[in-house]
Amino acid sequence: MLGYAQPHMPQGTGMNRQSLLPSFLPSRRAWHMIARCVTALVGGYAAAAGIASLGARLLPIARVEATLWGMILSFLILASFGLWAFHERSLLKVALVIWGSALLSAGLTIAIGSRP
């Protein structure tokens, strides 16, 4: 039930705390929310950094200009990922897209290597 932590669903459609767990442990729902927050913030930053770096590396303009465009636009990318992470209901989809873009863009940037 990865779609369980739905921030904009009305509450009360199912109790969140599971009776088997001691009450001081975060509920499953809370774990989902923590995962979503970490994905939005850490994953979102990694994805923004990766995409900005890949774009900066591939843009066919002077490297100082390409670098600066990447840095300037990165915060917009981060904010968009952050918002989408809380809008999309499926945590699985959020995690796949955000961590996936981070790994893919960072991996590609490293594989291509720095401009000579």
Partner: protein
Amino acid sequence: MSKAASDEKGLRQSMAWIHTWLGLLAGWILFAMFLTGTASYFRPEITRWMQPELHLAPVAPRQAAETAVAHMQATSPDDLQWYIYLPDDRTPETRIFAMPKPDAEAKAPRKRRAEINLDPATGEPLNARETRGGEHFYRFHFQLQLPHPWGRWLAGLCAIFMLTAIISGVITHKRIFVDFFTLRWNKGQRSWLDAHNVSAVLALPFHAMITYTGLITLFVMYMPWPIAANYPKPAAFYTDAYGTEPDGKALGKAVPLQPIGPLVDAASREWQGGRPRTIVIRNPNDAAATVTILRSGAERLNARGESITYSGATGAKLTQSAPPGPALTTAGVMLGLHLGNFAGPVLRWTYFLLGLTGTAMVGTGLLLWTAKRRKPGARPFFGFRLVERLNIATIACLPAGMAAFLLSNRLIPAGLEGRAELEVKAMFWTWFGMAALALLRPVRRAWVEALALSAAAFAALPLVNMATTDRGLFASIAGGDWLFLSFDGAMIAIAALLGFGAWRAGQVKTAPASKRRTPRPTAMPAVAPAREAADVA
């Protein structure tokens, strides 16, 4: 309901949810960042107010450069680097510091010498009270008085929260331009929502601009990865982007430094009369000496000034910063928009008022959170009481701390050792001390009393200034001392504003805010009609 309408409702609900929680998490720090940042638009003016014994006449850049270099030749001719910040229209003194040659034996990291302020006319060190001046609010605004680099990272985190909160706030608020004209007083929760909307929408372009450009000011720290992707050695990026000279090695052959005056004039000619602001001299009095002159950022929107480097041994021009490309210009203009150094008096006051609007937006947002969750009669849950107390600590007590910083400048003896740190301590002891004392009072009384104390502290400033300096209100009026006159006027206006706040806080009714069902105190938006849920959150 059609699918499109349902999707839109879902989007606005999720955006309302994230707006609420991001705003709450970062709200208190953002409030402090907005308020001290707003004060920083008058950074040099605050410094001048905090050194009332100084009366410096304006001096041309060339003369200030000559006297500063003469001072450094006399005190530390063998240093590695000299930094000279020339006076301008708003800062009357010359500021210098030097980097000594590394000690070959001691492995200690290079440490720059203490900054000194000079009289630009004579080159003599100024004899004024020790103070951090407006620099304190400016540094707190993005370093939050935390050790490096944690303060800057925390400020950056809050800024990205702010950016996200602005975007989600706009999506949430469908009727943004209709509600802009709506301000309902004395309607409890509704009034706070209206106030939040008015302060947000009124200056929305400013809020979005100041938040994004704030991130840009430190983007080399926050987002260095594109540099790594393009430059095997980051130093090459700084040379490309900012024309930063690599530190050349001294040749060890003594050659007297060229006179600085003609170089300053030459640079100004290259810029069609542009004003030189900063001079960096590397390896002075060596055959490899260089003199880099940077243009003032106060003349143009782009804060990244041009620079020219001359040989310090021959006076010949060595390099000149290349005309910037579109991205570099964009970054420079964003920096300029944030710092506002280009702004004349009218635009500067506009910046100040817009900054206060931003502060009000964050403050009303924080108050709205509690107004929405107040349940008449019921004992508030822990989170509610925490938020309520933190709101008092931030909104009502921080102004008193800032006033205490200024008051202590007048009350601590001018010659006392370490007085600059005492002024800073006065701000934080007053701020946190008042917040702690407010815990002992009922919430309503705490609001009224803390706001009243803040108002009193600001109202006391013109009086204390009059009693402790010869530049009081009447002397300022008689002598046409516009800086001190405006400062006194601003303090009285701020005191009146805080006093009004205290009076209003005493007037608030205890009756329920509205007849609507009070939202439940949960981490989720309450079940409510879609428009309400999205609009009120």
